[in-house]
Amino acid sequence: MRRPGRGAWPYLFLTPAIVLFTLFLAVPIAYTVYLAMHRTRVSGLGLGKGARREVFVGFDNFAAALADAELWQGWLRVLGYGALVLVVMLGLALLFALLLDSARVRLARFSRIAIFLPYAVPGVAATLLWGFLYLPSLSPLKAVLDVDYLGATTVTYSMANVAVWGGTGFNMLVLYTALRAIPRDLYEAARLDGASEVQIALRVKIPMLTPAIVLTTVFSIIATIQVFTEPTALRPLTNTISSTWSPLMKVYRDAFVTGDLYSAAATSIVIAAISLFLSFGFLRVVRDRAFREG
């Protein structure tokens, strides 16, 4: 028997990944698209066999999702929450990465490990910890700032804080790793020209970091738009978070509480489209600016 030539081997090695991709990515995506374009129609009194049929409705479900006031309110809430999380989390991640990279810092190893630590805490556990810290009966935070952390307006900030706490460390690590890869002699040159550490950070390091900043921003946008765990896990502790607080929570409710899979599928595609649109939009803005400056 002839052994397969070298040509077949890479395909053989890639078979598990391709099979998994087909089963758990391609088929589910196709199925979502199918569901999103169908709906159950009830004919007559809805009794007997064949009274409930699945019919093709084209883009009706998408139109319904786009006209849904409850969903729009969810979008607005997530937009406010997301803007806050993105700016504060990535800002802090960048600041900490730059500080760690500057030579003068003491206890850098301790700080790096401590700031990365929340990455090891599951979102549910993080929300639970902060949720209890927010509870009026337990809160040591009352001594710092005496407000109701779970009130109708404050709850968004409180939730954003959980996301910032959980996400800063990972983004800091990505940016810090990218910083370490920049050749050191670039800084030496800038120093000889009389640039201060702050100037080096702003004029040399941040421009060199742009690809890593773009990458962390895009992934943060995708993650933030799909926020689900934090508001869901905070719900038992406060009545200020509705069951449709975020768009993804509405998808969950439609699919598993109301049982309307078709709406849920259409809404989830809308969420995916908006997150991809925002990510690519962001990439475009960054690229255009880079070209103009270059």
Partner: protein, 294 residues
């Protein structure tokens, strides 16, 4: 000329060090503030979990209590020791899933890095593109497909969809490209080694450090996942810790007498990951191309 510039720069730096004493400690102070912010909730739950239900509301926030072992005993007795099951399930999902994920990523990454074959870029882009597909589009159809084959609400429904990990494949490809010299593979081929043999005996052993990193990232991602098991599972005997904690919170949010149970559960569910994280420090890297050269 150069000597003069260097001397000026030196003087300026020395001057800065004297005049800017407060500035000298500012970076360290900022980083330590960040570290305190990140450690505070973990430290707080560590203390809160030692308090008996009475002490939780009466003793100062940062004073250790006397009820830790009672809390643990109570938690382990909760509903016939379901917490143990949750921990065991989490270990199965995260351990098994991360092992399979690492194997698939390593083999795929090796094939993509070390072979030239038609469709290589198309397959790579397709697999990596998966990272842009929001989890929400996948979770509902995955649930429906699993329920059609009767596997929803089983361990498989949580394990299987989390094996394919685009970021893992990307890391494995980068690592394989940097860590496996082509000359070594060629030498093996000249000696008559088969391609399968080359992979298992030459390539994979060289990829072990990179595979540890991929394993860790995937282990944490699965351990922390809430949405997928939350959607897939109905039977609390199969819950991972995240979903278990959430149900505990739902049951106890309105009963302050259960708070110590919830807080102890939260603490115990983050301890293993924090331990793993602190002991495996040197493998937490986001850029594997530089790590391979050492």
């Amino acid at each position: 000329m150069a000597g003069v510039t260097a001397a000026t720069a030196h003087r300026r730096r020395a001057h800065g060090a004297f005049a800017g004493r407060p500035w000298g400690v500012a970076p360290t102070a900022l980083l330590l503030l960040g570290a305190i912010y990140c450690l505070f909730p973990v430290f707080w739950v560590l203390i809160a979990a030692t308090k008996s239900p009475g002490e939780l509301f009466s003793t100062p926030t940062l004073a250790f209590g006397t009820g830790f072992f009672d809390n643990v005993a109570e938690l382990f007795a909760y509903r016939d020791g379901v917490f143990w099951l949750w921990a065991a399930n989490t270990l199965i999902y995260a351990g098994g899933g991360a092992l399979l994920s690492t194997a698939v990523s390593a083999v795929s990454g090796y094939a993509l890095a070390k072979y030239r074959f038609p469709g290589r870029n198309a397959i790579f882009n397709l697999l990596i593109g998966g990272i842009l597909v929001p989890a929400v589009v996948l979770a509902i159809p995955q649930y429906l497909l699993f329920s059609q084959i009767g596997l929803a609400d089983s361990h498989w429904a949580v394990l299987l969809p989390q094996i394919l990990h685009p970021y893992g494949i990307y890391l494995a490809r980068v690592y394989a490209a940097a860590a496996i010299p082509d000359s070594l593979l060629e030498a093996g081929r000249i000696d008559g080694a088969g391609e399968g043999h080359l992979m298992t005996r030459v390539a994979l052993p060289l990829m072990v450090p990179g595979m540890v990193t991929i394993f860790l990232f995937q282990f944490v991602a699965i351990w922390n996942n809430f949405l997928l098991p939350f959607i897939m599972l109905g039977d609390d005997q199969k819950f991972p810790l995240t979903v278990g904690l959430f149900t505990l919170l739902q049951a106890g949010a309105n009963q302050p007498a259960l708070y110590n149970l919830i807080l102890t559960g939260a603490l115990l569910s983050i301890v293993p990951l924090i331990a793993l994280f602190l002991t495996m420090q040197r493998y937490w890297k986001t850029d594997l191309s530089s790590g391979a050269v050492k």
